[in-house]
């Protein structure tokens, strides 16, 4: 039996609850020993980290078993921490926000339930991973592509519910979720959108229905457990046309965003644009020993040499167009003309045509895992942590953010893995750091850097949209309009829909009443 218990629950009560879970779903799907719970700690967390330890782990096979688990949890006051596949690396992976929570592993609910080829929709359960979906579409020769993330090991639904961003026209994944089925903490099953009507063929086609839309209630929340959802896929394009340019200077990011933002807003550029700095490539190369011996940041003076070695600029601009070749070329021409106002460089271009073997790239709908190699940058026991505030796509704001981020990374002696992801009317500025999990000093510096990045962004009105477990309360507190009225709304909602406070206590800083009172 694990020594970690939920707050206010005795060992005897906890044991009895776990026995009750076992009797409902089978003891092989209930884990309670420290040894068995190792995978439910934060895989890339700092050594000695104690705030997010699991008390147990259970895995239902279906909605009926899930309902039974919720009934027992409500009866016995056992907090549950739902995960889809637990691959949320850099954000806490499979670990719970509150120690002692029982991880509710939905990985066994792994069915691809329906594919509507004509409409480009797939309905999946939370355990379905990006590799599963890709494998299925390939095997069945279904001409649809899913948007893939850089680390594709995770769950299709889990990633979308956490606002994951990625490649391709459907790269804003939360917006590609259309029509959910969710179980409320009390066990009631609801369907959102047109799925609220029995027999509707439009459940996953129209994002609204009649009356309020509750879909967003289940994203980054602890108000319910999504048990299945529709995901919009992109029809296999006739052609993928890629434009690539390495721009040489750190300050170039300003004009690059200035040139692309209106084109992204008008739909000339399809899907999020991922612009990464050279360190994003270098830190995934496994070649650190060529330039550094200690654990400190590689000096700026060496950057030029490294960029030359890799054939990279300070920023890599990578655009991908999907569709008919004529349209792709027309779009590419508009982008090339916009860039020509700022640089004499030309884009390198490549194309993939339907029927050709697909390159193993997420931009082409193929899942990958290799970007996780950054976990090996500083140490065999490495990890990574990101801060990605939301900014307007304004040149001055982005230049200032990059400059300030760079200064803070220098101050705390970390290599700056930077990126800018351009949405329709915003950017996320990626600030990623890699660390040695066993280095206590580095843990302190990483924590200090994250907090300084967060507080600095807040002073300019910029907030994070997603965070590691350890910073959920802090990030939530930065959303302070009207004395934090959104947070109060979340708490009211939490107490109304989950009066026993069993579902994911503390997620995104939302605590149920029983734990709020205990903290006070």
């Amino acid at each position: 039996m694990s020594a970690i218990l939920p707050p206010g629950v005795t060992a005897a009560e906890f044991s009895a609850a776990m026995r009750a879970f076992s009797s409902e779903i089978g003891s092989q799907w209930v884990l309670i020993t420290d040894e068995d719970l190792i995978p439910y700690h934060d895989a890339y967390g700092f050594a000695g980290q104690t705030d997010h330890q699991p008390g147990g782990a259970i895995s239902p096979a279906n909605v009926e078993e899930l309902r039974a688990i919720l009934r027992i949890a409500n009866e016995r006051g056992i907090p549950l921490w739902p995960i889809s596949r637990g691959k949320n690396y850099g954000y806490g992976a499979a670990a719970p926000r509150m120690s002692g929570s029982v991880v509710l592993d939905l990985g066994r609910m792994r069915r691809i339930l329906d594919v509507d080829v004509a409409r480009g929709v797939v309905v999946v359960e939370p355990g379905v991973g990006f590799f599963d979906l890709y494998d299925y579409l390939e095997r069945e020769k279904i001409p649809l592509w899913a948007s893939m993330p850089g680390n594709s090991l995770g769950s299709v639904l889990g990633n979308a519910l956490e606002y994951g961003l990625g490649y391709g026209p459907m790269g804003d994944r939360a917006n590609s979720l259309v029509g959910m089925e969710a179980m409320l903490p009390g066990g009631e099953l609801v369907r959102t959108g047109m799925g609220a009507m029995n027999g509707s063929p439009c459940w996953n086609l129209f994002p609204y229905s009649y009356g309020p839309s509750w879909d967003r209630m289940f994203t980054q929340s602890n108000f319910g457990i999504v048990t299945k959802a529709g995901v919009w896929l992109y029809p296999e394009p006739e052609e993928v046309l890629s434009l690539d340019m390495e721009v040489p200077d750190e300050a170039d990011i300003g004009w690059v965003v200035e040139a692309l933002a209106p084109l992204r807003m008008r739909g000339v550029v399809q899907g999020p644009v991922n612009i990464g700095n050279f360190m994003r490539i270098v830190m995934g190369s496994g070649r650190r020993a060529e330039w550094a011996t200690g654990k400190g940041a590689i000096p700026d003076a060496m950057h030029k040499q490294i960029m030359d070695d890799f054939g990279l600029g300070w920023w890599g601009v990578h655009l991908t167009f999907y569709g008919e070749p004529e349209l792709n070329r027309a779009r590419a021409k508009v982008v090339a003309d916009a860039f020509a106002k700022h640089t004499s460089q030309r884009f390198e271009m490549h194309s993939w045509k339907r029927g050709e073997p697909r390159p193993p790239l997420p931009s082409h709908g193929v899942p990958i895992s290799f970007p996780l190699r950054i976990a090996n940058w500083l140490s065999p026991n490495g990890g990574h942590l990101g801060f990605s505030p939301v900014l307007p796509p304004d040149r001055a704001a982005i230049e200032q953010q990059i400059s300030r981020s760079r200064a803070m990374f220098r101050k705390f002696d970390f290599d700056f893995y930077g990126g800018v992801t351009l949405g329709e009317r915003h950017v996320n500025v990626v600030n990623m750091l890699a660390y040695d999990r066993d280095d206590a000093d580095m843990a302190k510096r990483a924590d200090a850097l994250f907090r300084e990045l967060m507080n600095d962004a807040k002073t300019r009105g910029f907030g994070e949209y997603r965070s590691h477990l350890s910073y959920m309360d802090d990030v939530a507190a930065t959303y302070d309009f009207n004395g934090g009225s959104l947070h109060r709304l979340n708490e009211w909602m939490k107490d109304a829909i989950d009066p026993n406070g069993i579902l994911a206590p503390g997620k995104q800083g939302i605590w149920p009443k029983r734990y709020r009172e205990a903290q006070q």
């Binding site: 092989q28 799907w29 884990l31 040894e35 068995d36 190792i38 995978p39 439910y40 895989a43 895995s59 637990g86 691959k87 499979a94 592993d105 590799f131 494998d135 594709s152 090991l153 490649y167 046309l241 890629s242 690539d244 990464g276 994003r280 490539i281 190369s285 496994g286 054939g311 990279l312 890599g316 990578h318 070329r329 590419a332 021409k333 460089q345 030309r346 390198e348 271009m349 490549h350 194309s351 993939w352 045509k353 050709e356 073997p357 697909r358 390159p359 193993p360 790239l361 997420p362 193929v366 990958i368 895992s369 290799f370 970007p371 996780l372 190699r373 976990a375 090996n376 065999p380 490495g382």
Partner: protein, 135 residues
């Protein structure tokens, strides 16, 4: 000329690293990717009884230019980067690494890969080393 180095903003698998990139000034004449190798099928052990076989549970990282292939190449050299080709991994060592994690490799739970499935994977790795794995 094939030029794939910068396609996605991330370092590409070795199989598509083709040198000699050059700027292409003509928007109307993009470069085809016809020389790119196909993505290998993920299922290396088709027909295996276990639902989580080597390909599904391990191959996402340990095959196809995945993360673990590269990390192992960093640490032990390219010749040791593919675990199904190695002879130095004892069954108990594999079991311990899967359950406890090892370095950058996260641990995998019994709920994700059962003990029985793990036994099947270990057996597959043994057969692969002896060159008799089902293909």
């Amino acid at each position: 000329m094939i030029c794939l180095r910068h396609l996605s903003g991330a370092l590409l698998p070795a199989i598509v690293l083709v040198g000699g990139c050059s700027s292409e000034p003509d928007v109307a004449a993009p470069i085809p990717l016809t020389a790119v190798e196909a993505v290998p099928a993920l299922s290396m052990v088709e027909g295996k009884a276990t639902p989580r076989n080597y390909a599904a549970a391990c191959g996402t990282c340990h095959d196809n230019g995945g993360f673990a292939v590269r990390v192992l190449a960093d640490r032990s050299g390219p010749e040791n980067s593919m675990i199904h080709e190695r002879n130095d991994l004892a069954p108990d060592a594999i079991r311990a690494i899967v359950r406890n994690g090892f370095g950058a490799m996260p641990a995998m739970s019994k709920l994700e890969v059962s003990d029985e499935e793990l036994d099947g994977i270990i057996a597959f790795l043994g057969k692969a080393r002896r060159g008799s794995a089902p293909q």
